[in-house]
């Protein structure tokens, strides 16, 4: 039996007074790659932000490797080994590419083979020549690779990836897909938020479908592919 790595149980999230997530429960085992699919505004980003402590979840529980995450600050959650790659990317524009990576370095975690700037460049050779370029002057694909690399510098064991191939040129999507599979091969547990069914099918083992803040489906990618009702009702496919 694989160990459950992340578990959300009956989570509700509010932005101010608007209720966004309703009773969300999900579970990810160690080394698994799971996608959270849903349309625009379904609550994918909110789910990831709730795990990361960037949106305040209420109700049940969020557990990561046995530790409770509810009520913790984002920096504490990051220090426990959760890495968040936001869809807005949030590259620091007046730091160089290298500085963007170095700022995220954490000592002491993941002692086996800690991430370094050089290892990130090995994974994403495209950004190596941009080492001294300011973060504000990168293409969409370069930004995305830098964002992922920056999060890796903290040596997370769970990666939350919010629509990593959104707004990225098709050639770069192929490259990113390969690199993300690479990360999976290294044993990272990954939770994707996705709208892109093709990309999701390519990189994940299991899927959850979310609509209007509620989980509507869970199952393997094959089960989802075969379920026309769920696909047409919640994913517009």
């Amino acid at each position: 039996m694989p160990m459950p790595c992340l578990e959300l149980a009956n989570i509700h999230t509010y932005y101010g007074t608007s209720h966004i997530l309703f009773d969300v429960s999900l579970e990810i085992n160690e080394g698994e790659s799971v996608c959270l699919l849903g349309r625009n505004g379904a609550g994918k980003t909110t789910t990831l932000k709730t795990i990361m402590g960037l949106a305040k979840g209420k109700g049940g529980a969020i557990r990561f490797n046995g530790a409770s995450l509810l009520g913790r600050e984002p920096y504490e959650i990051a220090q426990l080994g959760v890495g968040f790659v936001p869809d807005e990317r949030l590259i620091f524009p007046d730091l160089t590419v290298r500085e963007n990576l170095e700022i995220a370095v954490k000592k002491g975690r993941g002692a086996a083979a800690p991430w370094t700037v050089e290892r990130v460049y090995e994974l994403f050779p495209v950004i190596e020549p941009l080492d001294r370029r300011l973060g504000g002057y990168l293409s969409g694909g370069e930004q995305q690779m830098l964002t992922i690399g920056r999060t890796l510098m903290g040596n997370p064991s769970l990666l939350l990836l919010d629509e990593p191939v959104e707004g990225v040129a098709p050639v770069v999507v192929q490259e990113l897909t390969r690199q993300i599979k690479n990360l999976k091969g290294m044993g990272l547990t990954i939770l994707f938020a996705e709208q892109n069914m093709h990309f999701a099918a390519d990189v994940s083992d299991r899927a959850y479908v979310i609509e209007k803040g509620r989980i509507r489906f869970q199952g393997s990618m094959q089960e989802l592919a075969a379920n026309e009702e769920v696909k047409s009702k919640y994913l517009m496919i």
């Binding site: 984002p74 920096y75 990051a78 620091f92 524009p93 007046d94 730091l95 995220a104 903290g154």
Partner: protein, 295 residues
């Protein structure tokens, strides 16, 4: 044409500019990182002036009067006030980050009143000033207080130092990153509460430095803080929040306009400054060197 009065106004304008810069730099950093408008910033500056005065007086009693005692007095005040700033952020200020703007303003404005009363209680109503006994020097057919050049030199040196600090050190890089997105900085595992407290301490430390170096030139007096904070707000609006270069240039503009207005239109100094503020707000609402704020 007699240039002496202009030169005098230029020097006093530049000295004022340096004090404004030291204060506004902290104000702008604190706003940039924590999104808090610290009304009490100039009151902390005022308090630092009194603290410097007391340390100076104490040292003079111990070791005999010497102008050089100002250096340890300033160092001591900067250290004490930075610690005080750190504690203030941890105990009080941090509770307002999630609050509405009016509540934030209320708290920092309450600090203005409380610190003002503390000053009254400890130092009384009398103005405090340090007389270094430096002799005026003759320049351009007039007498100039050479201490003004100390202030101007200190201001420039601190500006360069602060810039290097923000540019080169890890802490400086984290601060610049946090100005862009503090939640992303936190999500990267950086202990953001420590950054907040340190930035506040740094801002108060800079204000304390300004209070100390200013002391031999003008007396510290109750109420001066409100006059100065208004000018600091003008500086950050003109220069653009979050831009050190903008803060520096705007400090010089405000300092010089202020002292030259006194020459031509003594009552209109503040009015002149606010005309510039309004012009900037109309033409470039984000300031001369600022960037448009992200939503």
């Amino acid at each position: 044409m007699d240039i002496a009065p202009y030169a005098l106004q230029l020097f006093s304008g530049l000295s004022r500019a340096m004090v404004l810069f030291l204060l506004s730099a902290g104000l702008s950093l604190i706003f940039g990182v924590m999104n808090i408008l610290n009304f009490a910033h100039a009151t902390l500056w005022l308090l630092s002036g009194y603290v410097t005065f007391s340390i100076f007086t104490f040292l003079s009693q111990q070791f005999g009067v010497s102008p050089w005692l100002l250096l340890p007095a300033i160092a001591g005040a900067v250290a004490l006030m930075s610690l005080f700033g750190f504690a203030l952020e941890r105990l009080l200020i941090r509770h307002t980050y999630e609050r509405e703007l009016p509540e934030q303003l209320l708290l920092t404005f309450a600090l203005v009143l409380i610190l003002g009363d503390v000053i009254k209680l400890i130092w009384g109503l009398e103005n405090r000033r340090i007389n270094l006994g430096v002799r005026p020097i003759e320049m351009l057919d007039t007498l100039v207080n050479p201490y003004q050049f100390v202030i101007i030199g200190t201001g420039f040196a601190v500006a360069v130092g602060l810039w290097l600090f923000l540019q080169r050190t890890r802490f400086g890089k984290i601060v610049r990153a946090a100005v862009y997105s503090r939640s992303m900085v936190s999500a990267l595992g950086i202990r953001i509460p420590m950054i907040y407290a340190s930035v506040f301490a740094l801002g108060v430390g800079l204000a304390a430095l300004a209070g100390g170096v200013f002391l031999p030139l003008l007396p510290m007096a109750l109420g001066v803080d409100l006059d100065i904070i208004v000018q600091c707000f003008a500086v950050v609006v003109i220069g653009g929040f979050g831009s050190m270069l903008g803060t520096f240039v705007a400090s010089i503009i405000v300092g010089i306009v202020y002292s030259f207005s006194i020459l031509f239109w003594p009552d209109g100094a503040l009015a002149m400054i606010f005309l510039i503020v309004i012009a900037v707000l109309i033409v470039r609402p984000w300031g001369l060197f600022g960037t448009e704020l992200r939503s």
